[in-house]
Symmetry: C2
Subunit: 166 residues, 2 copies
Amino acid sequence: MAENTTSGESLLFLTDEQLRKGIEAMFFAYRGFTADPDRILDGMDYGRAHHRAVHFINRSPGATVGHLLTILGVTKQSLNRVLRSLFNDGLVEARVGKTDKRERRLHLTEKGAALERALSDAQRARMRAAYRAAGPQAVQGFRTVLEAMMDQDQRKQYQGLKDKHP
Amino acid sequence: MAENTTSGESLLFLTDEQLRKGIEAMFFAYRGFTADPDRILDGMDYGRAHHRAVHFINRSPGATVGHLLTILGVTKQSLNRVLRSLFNDGLVEARVGKTDKRERRLHLTEKGAALERALSDAQRARMRAAYRAAGPQAVQGFRTVLEAMMDQDQRKQYQGLKDKHP
DNA sequence: CTTGGAATGTCAACATAGCTGACGTAAATT
DNA sequence: AATTTACGTCAGCTATGTTGACATTCCAAG
């Protein structure tokens, strides 16, 4: 074995050059990742922020505004602008909380669900193609590295994302 | 084998739920990915756009403005605003092209290189930690999936990024 | 040699999506 | 009754993107 090893394992994947390539891969891949939904949203009065809101409302129906705020990591003023337009256009509706009437539980309307479907179909199609081309083994690694790249809090939110929420 | 298979290979990794988790992983991971440089830039008069410019100028010293434009995928007006401030602050300098005098070949100054180092050190540190935690096998998969997720053009740019350019 | 087009800069105007700060209201909690 | 929480909103600012129009310089081809 001519390679530089530590405890039997090559560390060549930790060179600055390799890390740099990883950084650039993230940059270019993220562009691809958002390209298709962006194309759909372009022309409508919506943008990436609306996409994210609709995505997570669909993902956690009945989520409160506060919950959405922590997931998206933006200010309430910023989110509110987005939600307002989604309300006005009838894509999202808010139901007053049962136990706590201050809360507004968010739900997609049929129209909102349709947009969400269009957006996520496009995004999933790309993801599916990439997954299929790369194979299950690679996908496993992909997910592992991404998870390791998150902040603590983000990782928790990510992992706890199946629960319909608090 | 109790799993659903096609040509001997489980396709469970292509379910909508798996794809959705992949999408969300990209979302949260990208936040982590940019968090550290953003923290450094915050307070200076610079933002993510400056980071990207400095990164790619460092990566391909002598690159022309046009080259940078195609890599970054923004308009010249947008890039110009960024470059102007980098010039004014003495982080980047432009040398007139030897053969084609219309071109401006971009280079980092010592000061610019210092900022680039600070930013990329931070970003690489996170990447390194993630890589180390995930292991070489996972990193391989990570890169494979990301590459498959890019657009054609982006992939070419990504792959050809070692060349010091035309 | 002239001319067309390429590489670049720049002015102006605008949109999106983030931010801070301040204030208001209703409902829950103490 | 007083305080805190959840949410909304007004106002203003910043960063980064966009179009469109126009000028300069210079290479390259007719």
